[in-house]
């Protein structure tokens, strides 16, 4: 992308008239190679120059690019905040995304619970990252918040596509109807997958994938804690409480007691019970146990937070945030590397041998992840 970035920088410095995107897309798709390149560059500039970046993801995807290819562009002014928009997929599938626009940033509630919960949850999550960590939206650069609800029929899932949120209605036997948008922890979990994508970029397989899952659970729960004034001592440490079909159980995950959230929950509580699964194409193996072994770092966090008490988003949360976004955690990091980094960061932030650093050490010791020797 280096030649594109050079051209873009040059073009941005002039104030060119920009042809309609639909025309440019046609040229980009049907034109010769030179015309295609020129149209693509202009499209990217037009998208990047807009004060709002909704729909940029779709444009990029169309040309096989990732948002990282636009990293060189100047960030949006933080004061404006991201646009928050909800779309109705009306039962449609991936091709139908994002769907019909039903609520924008300044619009009043629609009365459709899924729309309004997706809107409020995205806003609460962005507010959390801005007020607690000074982060400007999911990518740290003001990325617009885009959510689609009513995806497919009775769909028992919510996910982050790489540039937007998608929610099914539930009611397919796993989630209660409306459950997926009702849980702020689930919404923040999914949006945190976006934060991870734009920061540490943890590979979604094996231990790095389990860390990716765990960071989403950690910040998913912290968003909920802060919104509800919950302190670490009295917190349930449940992720997605009360949204599973009652025949299954009470929550998706239990961070302080992994493996006890629902009947069939097979999360290990420590490394002795680590599920050593291959990251192959067998769906049962969960990309090498990403949703299974995440119980181990989840519990390390919860134990540390409980030891310190108070507001977990102000005690252990900032340590985990620095580890995730500070540029030192490798995309292929394993539990031991992540654990060692949390101890280092705790020392930098609160002092070597501080209560906070000891609590973080204690968390990892509880789940039997090996740490570098304590110099004391």
């Amino acid at each position: 992308m280096s030649d594109v970035s050079g051209t873009l920088t040059a073009v941005i410095s002039c104030r060119c008239e920009i042809a309609p995107p639909s025309l440019l897309l046609r040229v980009a798709e049907r034109g010769g190679r030179d015309a295609r390149d020129a149209a693509l560059r202009t499209l990217l500039v037009s998208a990047a120059l807009r004060s709002r970046r909704t729909a940029l993801g779709a444009t990029l995807r169309r040309f096989g690019l990732s948002p990282a290819d636009l990293e060189f562009l100047p960030a949006q002014a933080p004061a404006t905040g991201p646009e928050n928009t909800v779309y109705d997929a009306a039962g449609g599938e991936e091709e139908a995304l994002p769907g019909r626009r039903v609520r924008g940033t300044d619009d009043p509630p629609t009365g459709d619970a899924a729309v309004d919960q997706a809107f409020d949850g995205a806003a609460a999550t962005a507010t959390f990252y801005r007020e607690v960590f000074g982060r400007d939206s999911i990518d740290g650069r003001g990325l617009d918040l885009v959510s689609s609800v009513h995806f497919r029929r009775r769909y028992d899932n919510a996910f982050w596509t790489g540039d937007q949120m998608v929610y099914g209605d539930g009611g397919g036997g796993v989630f209660v109807p409306g459950g997926l948008t009702r849980s702020l922890a689930v919404i923040a979990h999914e949006l945190t997958h976006g934060v991870t994508q734009f920061s540490a970029g943890l590979e979604y397989r094996g231990q790095s994938g389990a860390l990716n899952e765990s960071f989403s659970d950690v910040f998913g729960v912290l968003v909920e804690h802060r919104a509800g004034y919950v302190d670490a001592a009295s917190a349930s440490w449940l992720v997605g409480e009360g949204i599973l079909d009652p025949s299954l159980g009470g929550a998706l995950r239990n961070m302080i007691a992994p493996g006890t959230a629902y009947s069939g929950d097979d999360q290990p509580a420590d490394m002795d019970a680590y599920a050593d699964l291959p990251a192959d194409d067998d769906p049962r193996n969960d990309n090498g146990g990403v949703h299974i072994n995440s119980g181990i770092p989840n519990r390390a966090f919860a134990e540390a937070a409980r030891t310190l008490g108070g507001r977990a988003w102000e005690t252990v949360g900032p340590i985990w945030y620095e580890v995730l976004t500070g540029g030192r955690l490798a995309p292929t990091a394993d539990f031991a590397a992540c654990a060692a980094l949390t101890v280092t960061v705790a020392g930098e932030r609160y002092g070597e041998s501080s209560a906070q650093q000891d609590a973080v050490r204690g968390g990892w010791e509880a789940v039997k992840v090996r740490l570098p020797a304590d110099p004391r």
Partner: protein, 103 residues
């Protein structure tokens, strides 16, 4: 004929297995299922994977004929081979399946 769908992953990370056996179906449902199976492709090379996307579903679809022959396809959400999505939806959402949660 026995059709088994395994759906795993998602934000819940649960494994759902649903099995439908034509021996337990009436003639109408058997005809529907047979039609969907006949229209489903089982490519030797799996379609472009969506691996690496957090919390999307991954699927395994297996069809066991009366003579014991088994055809199998594994694919990620949004990357189903032709016909597989309709078959999977019929099995997962219909009233005929035996459902089980667990690995």
């Amino acid at each position: 004929m026995k059709v088994t769908v395994v759906r795993a992953g998602g934000v819940a990370g649960m494994v759902l297995t649903v099995e439908v056996d034509t021996g337990e179906l009436d003639a109408d449902a058997t005809a529907q299922l047979t039609g969907l199976v006949d229209a489903c492709e089982f490519p030797d090379v799996p379609p472009a994977a969506t691996k690496g996307r957090a919390d999307t579903f991954d699927y395994e679809l297996a069809v066991e004929r009366e003579d014991g022959a088994v055809r199998r396809a594994r694919f990620g959400q949004g990357a189903a081979p032709p016909g597989a999505d309709a078959l999977v939806t019929w099995v997962l959402d219909g009233p005929h399946g035996h459902r089980r949660i667990g690995r």
